[in-house]
Amino acid sequence: MADEKGKEKIRSIDNAAITLIEKAQKENVSTVFFRADELKPCPIGVEESCCKICGMGPCRLPRPKKAGEEKDRAGVCGATIETIVARNFARKIAAGTASHSDHAREVAETFLKTAQDEAQGFAIKDEVKLLEVALDYGIETEGRESREIAIDVGKKALEQFGKQDGELVYIKKAPLKRQEIWRKLGVVPRGIDREVVEMMHRTHMGVDQDYKHLMLQATRTALADGWGGSMISTDLQDIMFGTPVPILGTFNTGVFKEDQVNIVVHGHEPFLPELLVTATHDPEMKALAEKVGAKGINLTGMCCSANEVLMRHGIPCAGNFLQQELALVTGAVELMTVDVQCQMQGLQDVSECYHTKLVTTSDRAKIEGAIHIEFHPENGLDTAKKILRMAIENYPNRRHAVYIPAETQDAVVGFSHETINYLLGGLFRASYKPLNDNIINGRIRGVAGVVGCNNVRTVHDSAHIAMVKELIKNDVIVLTTGCAAMACGKAGLLTPEAARLYAGSGLAEVCEAVGIPPVLHMGACVDNSRILIAATALVKEGGLGDDISDLPAAGAAPEWMSEKALAIGQYFVASGVYTVFGTTWPTLGSEKVTKHLFEEHEELYKGMWAYEPDPIKAAGMMIAHIDKKRKALGLDKARERVLYDMAMRRALD
């Protein structure tokens, strides 16, 4: 499609996406790309200069168009623009935290049912992680059966949501200095639900009307996500489904197979996807597929559901957020399941244009017109088989010519923080020391977390890839999750060979010695908690200061779009990380609130926000921050670069 100036609009850097967008256009199928052309962002809403939380409004208070015309802006009730912008921002953080944490609650409930033998098809798979989490929760383990320990872990995890006072249990995993900062500022979360509820209360009409005070509670809420809900999800999912270890995976829409039954699991919770993996191996299902003329069953994933089964089973990933509708445009998808978060309602219309059955599976999320088959762990495997059967029986109903783009890319995924620790030092000498040493000796300049969504307001995947390439070229190792990780996978950055092709000399040398990619796929969006733990391990190992804020490290979400991303960003900033967001920024309506987040947060948390839509400039800002931290640690001075070879690594084993 051409823009107003007649130029062909670039929508993606991914050829598979581009060809499917063209197919959708030819077939007159509405997708997010075309809807975005027709619906421009509201200019007042985009800077959050609008309040609609009471019936006297909405109060629209845009910034003056011309410089020099600034005046104090306030709503009918007298709420200042600072209060309004901070309130809007805080509510987004509350929604993001609620999303990750409601996912976590489902995980904890399913975990408890699994421990009590009430969940069909699930088991306690990872005994090591069970022991680890039991130690975190202070649960007695000696001489006890795994099942008994798991029941206590499940109950303790559920308590984290409804606790009214004290501190969340994972807070004590953070560096000691960080804990002190949080306690001094009064932002240690007491209970996950309590912080979200209090945030909603304080942003109701006529309650907390001091933007700095509002942001303190927003921080406490975000910390209840990163060091609460998200961490609970990661840990308990690891116990039930296995802590990720390196595994070969494949990315992009080319993973569909023309002569097989194609199923896409989309959303965030890994329960049904895990059982679909089991069900696809059932001989009865295989026979049924043969009966309808298919050569097999091809289970694939999309968004974070994909990340979960990709890193544990090597299930191929058909694409990231902006490819969800495009996957159906291939005409090759028999059935797509969706559970919670990031699933566009537009999927239903697209599915009706083809033969695809769209199935909602969570009791919390229906889509009008979609088939609803609720997933409950008590009969989980039966439900998985029912859905799989429906997909297989739909195979003969393909009514469009199938077009599957050729693009696929292999990658190595599954870098949990435990696996990184193991790869660096071996089983019993597992250690972050080689990483710290190589940061100290300058081979690795620093560490960056590049995470987050796709956003149709920027060219699909372009900001992720430009930023990540710029970082690794400058010897910054990248940890990635979510849709950013998938963008990296599709672009070939998650292979050990990528080190030679794209990384600076020092980073390439370390990656090639250890046999790891320069960009490490750490999982789904809830697994940003793995990055917090890896950062803490770097601190505790020694030599790089005594807090996360001392590390030569930075974070970014160049294509963010969801409220969850803002919650993630706020907990990274509050954990001491300089965090740069791209595409758009939701506090520009108030200079004071923006200054508070971009500058004054550094005084409070030693981490702060930044906004830069140009990914190369944003990477430059991250590198400048990393160099600032290197200088503060005295690492800018010339140091002997000890050659890090296999013999030295073996000596550690």
């Binding site: 990872d126 005994e127 090591v128 022991l131 680890e132 130690l135 975190d136 560096p175 000691l176 296995g242 802590t243 270890v245 390196p246 595994i247 070969l248 090597g314 292999d410 190595v412 435990e418 696996t419 620790n421 193991y422 089983l427 019993f428 000498r429 597992a430 250690s431 972050y432 300058g442 081979r443 300049r445 400058n474 010897d475 050990p496 030679r500 600076g504 000399s505 020092g506 390439a508 040398e509 090639e512 010695a513 250890v514 046999g515 803490t536 391990a537 601190v539 505790k540 190992e541 020694g542 030599g543 790089l544 200061g545 005594d546 010339a638 670069r641 050659l643 890090y644 070879d645 296999m646």
Partner: protein, 71 residues
Amino acid sequence: MGEYVYEEKESFDGKKVKVLGPTYEEGKPDAKNDWEAKLGSPEDRLNYLKTALRYWYSKDWFGSEKRKQEA
């Protein structure tokens, strides 16, 4: 793996450095690297946590925070 391969390159701070080439095996893995499977017994697991994950689970090893613990 035969002889190591070294190359001369420039580091980010502009210095010439000698770097080691790839030392990992060529090709793609056909199974996942399930290193945790080596931990068979409960004692092995606890020992692993106390050594490998000493950052949190060892009583006498606190890395950069050792001084703080003693104070």
